[in-house]
Homo-oligomer: 142 residues x 2
Amino acid sequence: MFSKACEYGIKAMIYIAQQDGTRRVGLKQIAEATDSPVAFTAKILQTLVRDGVLVSIKGPSGGFNLSRDAEKINLAHIVKAIDGDEIFIGCGLGLEKCDGSRPCPVHFKFASVRDGLSAMLHSTTLKEMADGLDAGKVYLTH
Amino acid sequence: MFSKACEYGIKAMIYIAQQDGTRRVGLKQIAEATDSPVAFTAKILQTLVRDGVLVSIKGPSGGFNLSRDAEKINLAHIVKAIDGDEIFIGCGLGLEKCDGSRPCPVHFKFASVRDGLSAMLHSTTLKEMADGLDAGKVYLTH
DNA sequence: ATAATAAAGGATAAAAATATCCGAAATAAA
DNA sequence: TTTATTTCGGATATTTTTATCCTTTATTAT
Ligand code: FES
Ligand code: FES
């Protein structure tokens, strides 16, 4: 469904959101908390910094924090920054583009599922996810 | 969403289903009709033959046909044969397994979308897809 | 029987995704 | 100012996915 990079990215962002907004979170801490490879996570966080949804500070006591409130960042934004928008608008059978005026055989059934996924990702914020973690109802690792 | 192999496999199966059940369909014809690479398509069809959902016959006038009626083959079967069942049961954030008793942050929202996709794939038959093609309402290529 | 045809299967090749390593740059603390 | 820390960015390595090639095997038609 999502790439590994995207899975790591979402987990990292949820973890950062869970930490107090003022406190900075370091790469190693993030990678450990999300059970993700450190160096690969670094690359993904760089992508999110370039995208502008994440802020990084170098040096001692440096680290990462969200560029805006956790309730103002949704999962769709993160997915799009890392995996692009294929999952939101792409054809289920890989046709060049999903086009209702020249639909593939699965179009009508697939597009509604895909749009449901898109709506879910757009409406789900980091705040909700972080709150679930705080409440001990959900987990970032197995 | 699906692998390229799976996209090619689904398109190939729909195309084969569209052809008269008695007539055999050759590899090159399938690859051309579905705009897929010939040799790679061959590999995927081999997988489906081994799975038992497709039958192949060698030699002149050989080719492929479905092992049973097109209305008795659903898309989920094909997807599972090629991509496995990760998409049906896997965790959205890549945790080892999706486990409602130890859910990841996206579990409750993700699982319902994923289960909707699964239901769609299970309830959609090759016959429906082939009929749409016959009616000229849908297309296998862009 | 022989030749032609078509899928099977094994060996590679190419491309993309995943993952690691290390020196450079920035920053804060000593 | 020096040192330690931490991210950045480029290079490289590994693994998986995608794709091709070629020989073998089965089958049909001549
Ligand atoms: S054309 Fe294939 S999903 Fe829309
Ligand atoms: S545990 Fe992640 S989707 Fe169920």
